[in-house]
């Protein structure tokens, strides 16, 4: 349906179609539908923010969920596939910003922190894997769930940081850990893919060597691509030298790096993280990364969270809830134990350790989303048990929606890293 015919149908005074029905809304052009959903998302995000002090992105995701087949079915999930490049760009922009925001040298200055970062990712993955096995999940699918559960959503974390502007240890560590555990998840998923393919459906894998080789190739290839992208950006920025053109250049480089990474079966996430780090280290104060790379990036970010909301699923929750519970609790416990064990050596307070554990809860499927061709990525995974996969998606849904809320409370109230709102008196 074209845009003009949509408008004609929309405003045509017809007795039969004058009433505003859901079916009528469902019939409109997906582009117009998206635009309307975006308007609702922005307004709802603001209302939830003011009335209930919820993070804006919760409003955006809620709008997506309401428009999705989960509730009103205004948009189908397949409607998302044409906009996937935009969503990839939104994620890429945020990941690049995250890379430019963290300082890898910190991991050398504080080796206990480096150990915490690795341990919390590995322990949470292992805890989920072992937990699911204990509840009779197939081994190969449990491993997949474990790999995905390692990561904290870097885009949710960064969106919260943009909104709250917190400053402190928990925030700094949250950013660093979400970057590292996402990379760990990428590596683990790559290894899992090779293992699963070699083992076939429902069969145990034959050897670790191909998996490790494949993971190493992805890591080194993505790293080199990221270094190259960061270096190119540095060189080109010297030629441009203009605050208005810098974000355009950065967005273009993000698109190129992400597409090359996807084409070469590397990890766009790792490549963009490294690109951000390299650009920061080479340009230092010459690199100005606008939050979300400016207004266009902010718009993409709203679209991204609507799309994440549209992917929410609770199908089969009544039967799958034990596995969902295992994933959520085991992940929390795994991350909590790793952080608690290394709290003091890494220089953190107990209250902050609690806040950090909670703030790490927003989970996402971004580690695989960027490399997949469509949003129906779960169907592309070989040998994954449908039940475990659905339990994983439900867990992701829950932690994507509740996670930001918990993270915000943890950073603001528990860690107290947000500047207090100044008290004002009416004149």
């Amino acid at each position: 349906m074209s845009l003009s015919s949509t408008f004609e149908n929309w405003f045509a005074p017809s007795a039969a179609t004058a009433s505003w029905t859901l079916d009528r809304l469902r019939g409109i052009d997906p582009v117009l539908g998206f635009a309307i959903v975006m308007v609702v998302a922005v307004v709802l995000g603001e209302i939830l923010r003011r009335r209930f002090r919820l993070p804006r992105l919760c409003g955006h995701m809620l709008t997506g969920a309401l428009a999705s087949p989960l509730a009103l079915r205004l948009l189908e999930r397949t409607d998302l596939d044409p906009v996937k490049p935009l969503i990839d760009l939104a994620i890429g922009v945020l990941v690049f910003e995250l890379g430019s925001r963290i300082r890898p040298r910190w991991l050398i200055d504080n080796p206990w922190l480096a150990l915490t970062c690795v341990l919390e990712g590995v322990l949470s993955g292992l805890a989920v894997y072992v937990g699911l096995l204990a509840f009779d999940a197939p081994s190969i699918s449990a491993a997949l769930a474990g790999a995905v559960a390692m990561s904290t959503s870097p885009v949710i974390v960064l969106a919260l940081v943009h909104q709250m502007r917190p400053r402190g240890q928990v925030t700094e560590r949250l950013l660093m850990m979400s970057a590292i555990n996402s990379v760990l998840a990428v590596v683990a998923l790559k290894a899992w893919g090779v293992l699963a393919a070699s083992g076939g459906v429902g069969v145990e894998p034959v050897g670790l060597e191909p998996a490790i080789t494949s993971a190493l190739l992805v890591v080194s290839g993505s790293f080199l691509l990221g270094v190259a992208a960061g270096w190119v950006l540095t060189q080109l920025t010297k030629q441009v030298r203009g605050l208005t053109t810098a974000p355009v250049l950065q967005i273009a480089l993000v698109i190129i790096a992400a597409m090359l990474a996807a084409q070469w079966r590397l990890s766009p996430l790792l490549a963009l993280l490294v690109a951000g780090m390299v650009a920061r280290s080479r340009m230092a104060h010459g690199l100005t990364v606008e939050p979300q790379l400016g207004t266009a990036g902010a718009t993409l970010s709203v679209l991204l969270f609507i799309c994440l909301g549209m992917l929410f699923t609770l199908d089969g929750f009544t039967t799958l809830w034990p596995w969902v519970l295992v994933i959520v609790v085991a992940r929390l416990v795994g991350k909590g134990i790793a952080i608690a064990v290394l709290t003091r050596p890494s220089g953190l307070g107990w209250r902050q350790a609690g806040a950090l554990t909670i703030a790490l809860q927003p989970m996402s499927s971004l580690a695989v989303l960027l490399t997949a061709d469509t949003f129906g990525w779960p169907s592309q995974l070989p040998g994954a048990n449908g039940g475990v996969l659905q339990a994983l998606l439900i867990s992701t849904t829950l932690l994507q929606f509740i996670g930001p809320l918990l993270a915000e409370r943890a950073v603001r109230d528990l860690a107290q890293e947000c500047a207090p709102v100044p008290k004002t008196k009416a004149p």
Binding site: G168, A284, G349, A419
Partner: protein, 370 residues
């Protein structure tokens, strides 16, 4: 509350306090992480002290009692090393400088202690605007009368210390034109400026009683004077210096003060009088505004000369005492800084070369942390 007895301490012993900036290594704006740094430093191995300051982006370090330049330098280097290591562990930077170049005062958070909350309630936004960073130098005195005599005799040299230590040209993102803009924040406090001309400890006790009876002050801490007695330590405390950009300069300033104090005590070149203060605020302003290029008026001779020349002359007079105090290295460092300019000029030079202010703060951080 009555004025405390003046504790006797060994004359000319030194103690240095430095208020330091905690900055983020990401954007180099102030980072409210004093509690984190204090926690990591809780078991430091030095005799020095580290404690919170009014806002959460500041800490104050204090040396142990020192007699000589070499011991002071060694301790300052030790504390700088331990502080820097702890800061790196937390991914924060530590910088000297009297002001942060572009922090916004309203973003600052009051450090959660009873006294700081009291100050915040009393002074309102001034408390947050007091996110400025100074060096305080304590000089030991045997009794209160000597302390007050020395306090007033030193008033003529206050511009020296302002100009030599000046390191706060930028405030809220702009060049103020002042070498030490920090002291403008201190002026806003009602009990700032010079101490009243009282020369015996008994008379000072009467003055203190009158002030406490008005309810305006509760303790000596409520006086924000440029030099104030600290009876519980048995010292006078010079408070006009901006925190220098490195610890060597901090040690040199302290030892320059020590040499002047010895010169004043042993040679008694003049008797302080109320008239010394006729030119006090003018000289002070010149030092804040123009630094070493400012002018200074001698209250006795009414002669006017460049502050830089006045410091050169003073260094020559006190050299013999510096030699006896084994602080000639400190005097030489002061001489060098007269040639190369103060820290404010160094910061302005970076900005003039086209560096953004975040880069200027970054450079200051690298200079302090080594």
């Amino acid at each position: 509350m009555a004025l405390a007895e003046f504790t006797t301490s060994e004359p000319l012993t030194l103690g240095v306090e430095l208020e330091l900036q905690l900055v983020s290594t990401h954007d180099f704006d102030l980072a409210p992480q004093a509690e984190d740094l204090l926690r990591v430093l809780a078991k430091h191995s030095g005799a020095w002290d580290v404690k919170p300051e009014i806002t959460r982006s500041m800490i104050e370090i204090g040396t142990s009692i020192q007699r000589e330049h070499s011991g002071l330098v060694a301790e300052l280097h030790d504390l700088r090393g331990q502080l820097s290591q702890a800061a790196r562990k937390l991914n924060i930077g530590i910088a000297g400088g009297g002001t942060h170049a572009y922090q916004h005062w309203s973003d600052q958070q009051i450090f959660p202690t009873e006294r700081f909350h009291y100050i915040s309630e009393l002074y309102g936004y001034l408390a947050k605007q007091f996110t400025v960073f100074g060096q305080h130098v304590h000089v030991g005195c045997e009794d209160g009368d000597t302390a007050l005599w020395l306090l007033h005799a030193l008033s003529r040299y206050v511009p020296h210390f302002i100009a030599l230590s000046a390191s706060s040209p930028f405030v809220q993102g702009v060049d103020t034109g002042f070498d030490s803009a920090r002291l403008n924040s201190v002026f806003a406090f009602p009990l700032s400026g010079r101490a009243p001309f009282v020369t015996t400890w008994d008379d000072f006790g009467l003055y203190f009683d009158k002030m406490t009876s008005t309810g305006v002050v509760q303790s000596m801490k409520d006086f924000y004077w440029d030099i104030r007695p600290k009876p519980e330590f048995g010292t006078i405390e010079l408070r006009v210096c901006d925190t220098p950009l490195d610890v060597d300069k901090a040690a040199a300033l302290a030892c320059y003060l020590q040499a002047i104090c010895r010169y004043l005590r042993e040679e008694r070149p003049f008797e302080p009088s109320e008239d010394d203060y006729l030119v006090y605020t003018f000289n002070r302003f010149q030092a804040c505004r123009f630094g070493l290029d400012g002018e200074i008026v001698d209250p006795q001779t009414k002669q006017r000369e460049k502050l830089r020349d006045n410091i050169v002359r003073t260094l020559a007079r006190v050299d013999e005492h510096a030699l006896d105090l084994r602080s000639l290295d400190a005097s030489n460092l002061i001489r060098d800084s007269l040639r190369h300019g103060n820290d404010a000029q160094w910061l302005r030079g970076l900005r003039a070369s086209g560096e953004p202010l975040s880069s200027v703060v970054h450079s200051a951080t690298e200079r302090w942390m080594g």
